[in-house]
């Protein structure tokens, strides 16, 4: 096996690291030199992965422009050789890469736009689950409600942003001129999930974010109402909790409930 193994290792080094040792094993053609022919593989590797990243991070690409994105993509490709069978997974480290890369860490909105795009991608082909219906809820006896525990849709992902990344994404997606990036005084909670076939997101106001997070931890409805009361006053607390719940059901953000 040594011949084939050594050749494949050398070929891979040639593609990934520009090592020319493999050229010694390659024959030129009558029409072209071996380095140009081997260059087809070198170019294809980079171009294919840039294309994958461009598809997965469409708004980040729009924000940075072709040249800026290509530079980022090349740095990412160097830092993270693809280690998965599916190219779909290749860009999964992008938010973390942006947060730590010297060239981009000073612009935290970049990592947050990437985080949002990654979450939307993950929600798009995440697990299927039947959304919880209002009819299902209506059939639950009033005395059981305080003990009711809700299950978020399995595609639901909670993000927290320190910048106006969500607004930037929306403007870019709508092909509008994006606002200036800015640091937010208060962090913004965002929820991403899939409704039918559409990956969606929306910002959550602080009270709704708090109650969503507690719901996702399995806190029962009665306790959620108490939390709402503590958070923003007892007046109308149950109504507010119920109204959040109805909104989540309408938007397909929950999949199930059980009496805990």
């Amino acid at each position: 096996m040594s011949g084939l193994k050594a050749l494949q290792e050398s070929f891979q080094r040639g593609v990934l690291a520009g090592d020319d040792t493999i050229l010694g094993e390659i024959k030129g053609s009558a029409k072209e030199s071996r380095d140009v022919l081997f260059g087809v593989y070198r170019n294809a590797y980079v171009l294919r992965l840039i294309e994958v990243l461009t598809d997965d991070y469409e708004q980040l690409h729009a924000y940075l422009g072709d040249a800026g994105f290509a530079k980022l993509a090349r740095a990412y490709i160097d830092a993270h050789p693809s280690d998965r069978r599916s190219a779909r997974d290749f860009g999964r480290h992008m938010p973390r890469f942006l947060r730590h890369a010297d060239t981009h860490a000073k612009h935290p909105e970049l990592a947050e736009i990437a985080e949002l795009e990654k979450a939307l991608g993950d929600a798009f082909d995440g697990p299927d689950a039947e959304p919880l219906s209002l009819e299902h809820l209506a059939a639950i006896a009033p005395q059981d409600w305080p003990r009711l525990v809700f299950e978020p849709h399995p595609t639901a992902i909670r993000l927290t942003f320190t910048t106006n990344a969500a607004d930037l994404w929306s403007a870019l997606h709508g092909e509008a001129r994006p606002p200036k990036p800015r640091h937010l005084e208060e962090r913004e909670a965002v929820i991403v999930w899939r409704q039918e076939f559409m990956a969606r997101f929306r910002p959550l106001p602080p009270e709704e974010a708090m109650i969503w997070d507690e719901t996702a931890k399995g806190v029962a409805f009665g306790a959620l109402c108490e939390m709402v009361a503590t958070f923003a006053g007892t007046y109308g607390a149950e109504l507010r909790a119920a109204s959040y719940l109805k909104g989540w059901v309408d938007m397909g953000m929950l999949t199930n409930c059980r009496i805990g």
């Binding site: 011949g3 891979q12 390659i26 053609s29 593989y41």
Partner: protein, 284 residues
């Protein structure tokens, strides 16, 4: 393991997300679809739902791009399990991938990389195909790839290598007409010799596709319509192999479905001219 040769399915297309709705809302003149296996190794959402609906209406074959059958890295059992699980969902007429490798040491170069045509590589591939077929419980179908380099250490021609793999590992072949054309141009061999050198009874599918001509070499880009020279080679392939399930492969610069259906009609027309209409009926 079933050893019956898969049926002639007629004329198919690669399933692409851009065409989901049009396929399901209409009745395009397409006999079957080929799906990229890796695109459906996901947990849910629209792609799997569309796939399920297509499978209800059309014969489907699965075509992978990352089996890496010729790699010296160990077989990726997790990948194979996912492939098997997808096959249980799709019930494909066959499962194909490429006679190539895609990486070693846990890296995937996302390319169909060339093999040196040596006895060592042949033994290695035959043993891996056997292992994969045993695991999947079915025969694999392997496709010849386009290549841009050849290795000094090769001891046989590509078609000798392909034929030996098919015979010794007892697998089927996907004869990619465009890839033969591209590699013949790049390496200066006779495409007809390749065609005549492959065992007839092993070929279950044809791919026909477009490419990019770079003067001194051709790159297999699948982003153009099929060129006249590839159609001519297709004509020769039909004459040699008889009725073989044929598919137009388009992966980039994807045109409206109607354009691909027209191109497929062209393939159908060539096959009808060569074989006569009575040999063109797909198996029920």
């Amino acid at each position: 393991m079933s050893t019956t040769k898969p049926p002639f399915l007629g004329f198919g297309l690669g399933l692409r997300p851009q065409h989901y709705r049009e396929i399901l809302d209409g009745t395009p003149k397409v006999d079957w679809f080929e799906v990229i296996s890796e695109n459906y190794m996901i947990r849910g959402g629209q792609p799997l739902s569309m796939l399920d609906q297509i499978c209800e209406r059309y014969p489907v074959v699965m075509h992978g791009v990352s089996l890496s059958i010729a790699s010296t890295a160990p077989l990726d059992m997790e990948y194979l399990q996912r492939l098997k699980t997808l096959a249980e969902r799709v019930n494909p007429k066959w499962i194909s991938d490429h006679l190539c490798w895609t990486g070693v040491h846990g890296v995937n170069l996302h390319d169909l990389l060339p093999i040196p045509y040596t006895k060592e590589a042949l033994d290695h591939v035959v043993q891996r195909v056997t292992q994969v077929q045993d695991f999947l419980g079915r025969r694999l179908t392997l496709e010849n790839v386009s290549s841009y380099v050849t290795f000094g250490q090769s001891e046989m021609t590509e078609w000798e290598f392909v034929s030996e793999v098919a015979t010794r590992a007892d697998c089927w072949l996907l004869f990619d007409v465009n890839n033969v054309y591209v590699s013949a141009f790049n390496h200066g061999f006779d495409a007809g010799a390749f065609l005549r050198g492959v065992p007839r009874d092993r070929v279950v599918q044809f791919h026909v596709a477009g490419h990019s001509h770079e003067e001194s070499h051709i790159i297999d880009t699948h982003d153009h319509p099929v060129c006249p020279e590839v159609w001519e080679l297709y004509r020769a392939a039909v004459a040699h192999f008889g009725p073989v399930s044929t598919m137009i492969e388009r992966d980039d610069n994807i045109p409206p479905l109607a354009e691909l259906v027209d191109e497929l009609s062209h393939a159908r027309g060539i096959a009808a001219e060569v074989l006569g209409a009575e040999r063109m009926e797909p198996a029920a």
